[in-house]
């Protein structure tokens, strides 16, 4: 068995400021890895470097492609990398409007990735869109409505449907529950857990919310000032943190 993603020595600087430094890890099929740290810790920079949105200064991102086996995505040509991000990869943005086409109906939003990979039968595309809306608990009646008429939680679920419709194997999530009401967060977390389990998805979830990673992530990476200070099983890192910063982070969580 090979890891789905093998990250080696990713580094990104913004001038003199360090975005992230020498980050290495692997991710296996079906695993969900959380990346936590405070604002400015480099977790979003890292995510964007991995997903191909930012060019890192150094490092390799090996992805186990369906056809050719492991390939360094940073050395891929842009067409290949963009094709990957439409098929085997998905990216869930914190703000749904960054990941949705707000002027296009819910069905069109979900159908876009299908059409992008060559689907040309309206009935089939629409059927699949409705099926996916159902899986993210959006009523079929809303298929022709624009996301502007949706609540924040619905928009986020629509974004997830739009991303998962082509059956990706790796999902990048940037604060997927950020900015949502607590009750809406819970529903979204449960949905994500179910999808990860049923589709065998691997995911990398960036968040500053330790409760989210405890429920969603198998493994955890803690970042501070662009460096990875601790990694391990999520419950182990949270219950028996080894690094001073992680101990501080865990002890700073407000108890309800």
């Amino acid at each position: 068995m090979t890891p789905l993603l093998d990250v080696k020595g990713i580094a990104k600087r913004y001038g003199r400021h360090i975005g992230c430094a020498d980050v290495s890890f692997d991710l296996w099929p079906g695993e969900v890895m959380g990346i936590v740290g405070e604002s400015g810790s480099g977790k979003s920079t890292l995510l964007n470097c991995l997903a191909g949105h930012l060019a890192p200064d150094a490092g390799e991102v090996w992805f186990d492609t369906r056809v050719d086996g492991p390939k360094d995505t940073l050395k891929m040509g842009e067409p290949e990398r963009r094709m990957l991000s439409r098929t085997d990869w998905a990216f869930v943005h914190q703000h749904a409007r960054d990941g949705l086409r707000m002027g296009v109906s819910a069905g069109g939003n979900v159908g876009e990735r299908l059409m992008a990979v060559g689907a040309r039968n309206y009935g089939t595309i629409r059927h699949q869109a409705i099926d996916w809306l159902g899986r993210v608990e959006i009523s079929e009646e809303r298929v022709d409505d624009r996301p502007t008429t949706f609540s924040g939680g619905m928009q986020q679920r629509l974004q997830i449907a739009r991303n998962l419709v082509t059956g990706p194997r790796l999902v990048f999530m940037d604060e997927p529950t950020g900015g949502l009401d607590v009750s809406v967060q819970a529903r979204l977390l449960d949905l994500l857990r179910g999808l990860v389990r049923d589709m065998g998805l691997s995911a990398i979830v960036v968040t500053h919310d330790l409760a989210v990673v405890r429920l969603l992530a198998d493994r955890l990476m803690v970042m501070k000032d662009g460096q990875v200070v601790e990694t391990g099983l999520t419950d182990q890192v949270l219950d028996d943190p080894q690094h001073g910063y992680t101990q501080l982070l865990v002890s700073s969580v407000l108890q309800v």
Partner: protein, 235 residues
């Protein structure tokens, strides 16, 4: 997963544990040293010792929840202290069950799904998983009207029974039980004890913490006094 069939299911050798509190002057607290434990299939071993002696700590280390400072812990042939996260995850999915005193679940998820989840992660069909979850909830006498509700709002005893149902729904070859009968009345305590006996009968290796001495005497074959492994606080 390859099991080493010859040796004990759970084997702890010369295990030590230290907590370092970086934010409190890097205070080092050595809580355990030279711990040894061996549990064979179909055997139930009780951890005993005064409060704070490290019973839960040892159990958490076996589960991979706490890191060991030194020594080895093998469960079904896998050295938990050296294993990669995915190996421990696989161990927990297939081999090693854990009934803790705490219930950590996604809010708003129905109890039935909470109990069925370990089966779903094993790839059991959803209908079958739910059926088995129903049978198990029935067994622990959780009223059916609660099955569709999230256990986060349940009483202590109800939550404990959800925990038990979740821990026994899959026939784990190894089980860790942290006060499984706590906050249960006589009838429900009896249900849990018979679940433990059945697990033993099918060959599970069990490590348990029981304050309930009567229960301990009934299901456990041996006792290990964890106080023997406790270390004085380092200067």
């Amino acid at each position: 997963m390859n099991f080493v069939q010859d040796g004990p299911m759970i084997q702890v050798t010369n295990l030590s544990k230290t907590f370092t509190l970086h934010n409190q002057g890097a205070a080092e607290i050595a809580v355990m040293e030279g711990a040894d434990l061996s549990v064979a299939a179909a055997e139930c071993v009780a951890l005993v010792g005064v409060s704070g002696a490290g019973k839960s700590t040892l159990m958490r280390m076996i589960y991979g929840n706490y890191l060991a400072a030194s020594g080895t812990i093998t469960v079904g042939g896998l050295d938990v202290t050296q294993a990669a996260p995915r190996e421990i995850l696989s161990l927990r999915r297939v081999t090693l069950g854990y009934v803790s005193q705490f219930l950590r679940v996604v809010p708003r998820v129905p109890t039935l799904d909470v109990v069925a989840e370990p089966l779903l992660t094993l790839g059991v069909d959803v209908t079958e998983a739910r059926d088995r979850a129903k049978a198990m909830l029935d067994r622990v006498n959780l009223p059916e009207r609660l099955w569709g509700l999230s256990p986060t709002t349940f009483s202590g005893g109800e939550q404990q029974r959800v925990n038990v149902a979740r821990g026994f729904i899959h026939a784990y070859p190894a089980l860790l039980l942290d006060e499984p009968t706590a906050s249960l009345d006589g009838a429900n305590r009896e249900v849990v004890l018979s679940l433990i006996e059945e697990a033993k009968a099918r060959g599970a290796a069990i490590v348990g913490i029981f304050h309930d001495e009567e229960a301990r005497d009934r299901v456990c074959d041996r006792q290990i006094d964890v106080s023997a492994f406790a270390r004085r606080r380092a200067a």
